[in-house]
């Protein structure tokens, strides 16, 4: 029996550092080949293509010609354009989170992909890991009962670069770190986020130009509520990892406490200035890339669809509206 030909994947832009781990995941994944890296920054494209062991292609149409599907890791502001170009070329797309910087863009991306008959996925690796499924099962089986309240936190170091240029990122910590938890809440509970109240400020990097800390208080469609700390509050030079993704769900049946990066070994070495965490548990990036490849082969939606990406973008938009109005706003 002949094996099916490898699925050919292109990475569109390595602006987002997650491109590194997706490239590594593709390398480790059977039946999939990273055939090309396109980037609008030729220097970065050459360098990263070398690192990833693939070809750099400066021409987007040429890159799209070479592949079956794309993974988009550009600056947030370019997500829509690249997704629409891929769709026009008939290529499936997995897009880095947040799906877009506006609700309008996210909706347009979903519509364009649907019309073109290509799949659109949103890169929400957290929902791909084992404990996310376990929590989801504990909700759907009734073990955790009905959802009373959820505490969420997705803190990080300051990512710097284009992330802190609102013209490229669309916003600061609230844009960057709302969507993982918003998506995890939706995935685990099967409920929607219905209202958002937000606080935000720039406290850690005074001249940043975007918010670096905040707090979201959200209503859920089942009558419960949730909080989320999206701050870039982990000290850049001292914290032993990039940050955290945590959630505690209190239900009528019990309390589930989730820590995405709990599975790690602590490393203290004289060669290092600071301690490090060496992860050994579920690799959400790897599982997500594998799911995308499988979705393309089976012509089914990726685990996190474009719609899922849109829902999270709506929460971000509501948070900014709350910040403008000082009110709790409906999503």
């Amino acid at each position: 029996m002949n094996a099916a030909p490898d699925l050919k994947i292109a990475i569109l832009s390595a602006a987002h550092l997650h491109a590194d781990s997706y490239a590594a995941a593709l390398r480790d994944l059977a039946g999939v080949t990273l055939v090309v890296l396109w980037d609008n920054d030729a220097a970065r494209g050459h360098e990263k293509a070398g690192e990833y062991g693939t070809e750099f292609e400066p021409d987007l149409d040429a890159a799209l010609n070479e592949c079956d599907a794309v993974i988009i890791c550009s600056e947030n502001i370019r997500h829509r354009e690249l997704t629409e170009r891929a769709a026009a070329a008939g290529k499936h797309a997995l897009c880095e989170k947040p799906l877009a910087t506006t609700v309008e863009d996210a909706r347009a991306m979903i519509e364009t992909c649907a019309k073109a008959g290509v799949l659109l996925g949103t890169a929400f690796p957290v929902r791909h890991c084992g404990p996310a499924f376990q929590m989801r099962d504990a909700i759907s089986s009734g073990a955790l009962g009905s959802v009373l309240m959820i505490r969420g936190a997705n803190r990080g170091t300051n990512p710097g670069g284009w992330f802190v240029d609102p013209d490229l990122s669309g916003g600061g910590a609230v844009t960057d770190h709302t969507v993982h938890i918003a998506d995890l809440i939706r995935f685990v509970t099967d409920e929607e986020i219905t209202s958002v109240y937000a606080e935000a400020d720039t406290h850690f990097y005074p001249d940043l130009g975007v918010e670096d800390c905040g707090l979201l208080m959200m209503g859920l469609s089942g009558g419960g509520f949730a909080s989320l700390d999206p701050s870039w509050s982990r000290p850049n030079q001292a914290y032993p990892s990039w940050g955290d993704v945590r959630m505690q769900l209190t239900g009528t049946g019990g309390v589930a406490t989730f820590d995405y990066t709990a599975q790690h070994t602590e490393l203290y070495a004289n060669a290092r200035v600071r301690a490090a965490e060496m992860p050994w548990g579920d690799d959400g990036d790897q599982l997500m890339v594998a799911d995308f490849a499988e979705a393309v082969r089976e012509n089914r939606s990726p685990l996190a669809s474009g719609e899922d990406g849109l829902r999270a973008v709506e929460v971000v938009a509501a948070a900014y509206e709350s910040l403008r109005t000082g009110r709790s706003v409906e999503v």
Partner: protein, 332 residues
């Protein structure tokens, strides 16, 4: 020697009474409770008499000071009576269920010239004290965000009074107020409050509060009475030059998992500092005794307790309206 009487022989009355009876410069001479049986049980434990009534205890010439550890809704009655009788007062938190009650109590104490302290004991817990000191001395630079959580199972007590929201104010007023007091003490007055709480679920309670301090600090306080068992606290402050974090499970120097029959968990969890040298409850009472004896005012005054109450009540109001409540510095 400061002679005290304990009104309310429940969990906290038992705890405070035990501490006071061990002090070299204080003693417990009488206990009062609406339940004669409970009063007798505590009196036996402390080796003191049972008062005929709270009024008799308060009027008793042999008593200099009273400890009020009744359900919250009864605080005002006993505190005002004690003040009018010229007795010094230690009142458990929350000071009262409403601002009106609390203000009347403070006015009564001031009028009578008696010294009233309130049991916001978290101020004496070593980790909270250390984190506050580290914030104030600039160890983490300028603070930007703070997060404090506290969780336990639903408390059980006489007439299930904790479950009566009108009496207790639920987890926000009874438990989160500890953390609100610590946040106010550490980061200053509050400008704006937003909160949600669990509603309409008998046997469960929980609340989440967003605070915007006048200093700009964004803080978060959470209380949860919906755990099946256990007691959990965490505290974290992020500044522009560092991060402080701690929680009671990772900082517990001893864990014992014992075989137990029957009901799980304590009726009301009374967390302790886990240290031989410094019991926070003893330190708060020593602070009060020292003040009565002519020393400096205590770490937590009745006015501090009033400020924490104002913020907790604003949180309850916000949870009701689902919109932020502006305090404009009123939540000192």
């Amino acid at each position: 020697m400061i002679s005290t009487g304990v009104i309310g022989a429940g969990n906290m009355g038992r705890y405070h009474g035990g501490i006071l009876s061990r002090q070299p410069d204080a003693c417990v001479v009488a206990v009062a409770d609406t339940s004669a049986e409970r009063a007798q049980s505590l009196a036996d434990a402390l080796g003191c008499r049972v008062a005929a009534s709270a009024a008799e205890l308060i009027e008793s010439a042999e008593i200099d000071a009273v400890v009020v550890t009744t359900p919250t809704a009864a605080h005002r009655l006993y505190v005002e009576a004690a003040a009018n009788a010229g007795k010094h007062i230690f009142c458990e938190k929350p000071l009262a269920r409403t601002m009106k009650e609390a203000e009347a109590m403070i006015a009564a104490a001031e009028r009578a010239g008696v010294k009233m302290s309130v049991g916001h004991v978290v101020r004496w817990f070593p980790q909270y004290e250390q984190i506050r000191r580290s914030v104030l001395d600039g160890t983490i630079g300028k603070p930007g965000t703070a997060r404090v959580t506290r969780g336990a199972s639903f408390p059980r007590a006489t007439n299930d009074w904790y479950a009566d929201y009108e009496q207790s104010g639920g987890v926000m007023l009874d438990m989160v107020i500890h953390d609100l007091d610590w946040l106010l003490w550490t980061f200053g007055p509050v400008r704006r409050v937003f909160a949600r709480r669990i509603e309409g679920q008998p046997g469960y309670d929980g609340g989440m509060i967003s605070l915007r301090h006048e200093s700009g600090v964004i803080s978060y306080a959470e209380g949860n009475w919906s755990y099946p068992s256990g007691f959990y606290t965490s505290v974290e402050v992020a500044g522009d030059d560092g991060l402080l974090m701690g929680d009671n499970t990772s900082t517990s120097p001893l864990r014992m998992d014992m075989r137990e029959d029957g009901v799980s968990g304590a009726a009301v969890e009374v967390p302790t500092g886990g240290s031989r040298s410094a019991d926070p409850y003893e330190m708060e009472l020593r602070d009060w005794l020292g003040w009565i004896a002519g020393g400096p005012p205590p770490r937590c005054t009745a006015t501090d307790a009033l400020d924490a109450l104002r913020v907790a009540l604003a949180a309850l109001e916000s949870a009701e309206t689902r919109q932020p409540v502006e305090l404009n510095g009123g939540g000192r």
